[in-house]
Symmetry: C2
């Protein structure tokens, strides 16, 4: 088990992939190419992108030359938008030991330590923009496969 669900891992990788493939050039990229580009099961990823599209995080058009893309505004959105859309905000606000009532006044043993870690994750994802890695992905410095 990682920090994110598998669904969310695929989602983030897919959005990065769409971003670097379509940023600037008014082009689209199809589900097949995306799935191949991030090593994910195609039909499962289709469902994930369908959901992200409904939620306005990615854009899409049907038909020939259709596919997924990201408009200028989407490229500037923080990664946290993807995570919240897919996994919710538990990773940012939930108790590390799973206690519903855990809080400042009723803390679990790890409350303060985990608060810092969760905050750090939250800030990292808020400060990182979807379009931020396009250059490095194009040049191959960064990887989205396997």
């Amino acid at each position: 088990m990682g920090i994110f669900s598998k669904t969310c891992e695929y989602a983030i990788r897919a959005v990065f992939f769409i971003a670097h493939k379509t940023a600037g050039q008014s082009s689209r990229v199809g589900i097949k190419e995306i799935a191949g580009g991030i090593d994910s099961p195609e039909p499962f990823l289709a469902k994930i992108l369908q959901d992200l599209s409904r939620k306005g995080i990615v854009q899409s058009t049907k038909g020939p030359n259709g596919g997924f893309y990201l408009d200028a505004a989407s490229l500037l959105r923080p990664l946290s938008d993807i995570v919240e859309a897919v996994d919710g905000d538990d990773i940012f606000y939930g108790c590390g030991l799973g206690l519903k009532q855990c809080s400042e006044i009723n803390p679990c043993p790890l409350h303060n330590e985990f608060k810092e870690i969760r905050n750090r994750i939250h800030h990292l994802l808020q400060d990182t923009k979807i379009g931020e890695f396009n250059d490095e992905l194009i040049t191959g410095i960064l990887s989205l496969k396997k």
Copy 2:
């Protein structure tokens, strides 16, 4: 989805509970009391403790006056031992985006940022000992329920 699996959340809370109930006094605490004390499903927790017992992280004896307890050495073990036993070490070493080949020479876009976060989690859990919160748990400053 939290940082840990539900199984692991229950495991940590249960071990904390056993620790503060039995530390010092050569007493034992039964599965029923533990499950009640940490708000967990009793039969599921029984399986978890059975596993932790096999792995030597908690001690147990059967029969009347039997139950679970922690010896002196166990009380000094780090929390990371519980997490590794239950969830494995993915949380410490795995790629945030789920990439098997992610590494320094083939990094995903979030590699360095996540490395720091994972390290921080790792160090926190290595530096925190199982018996560390007994006093606060007895006095009720800290909570393991709901």
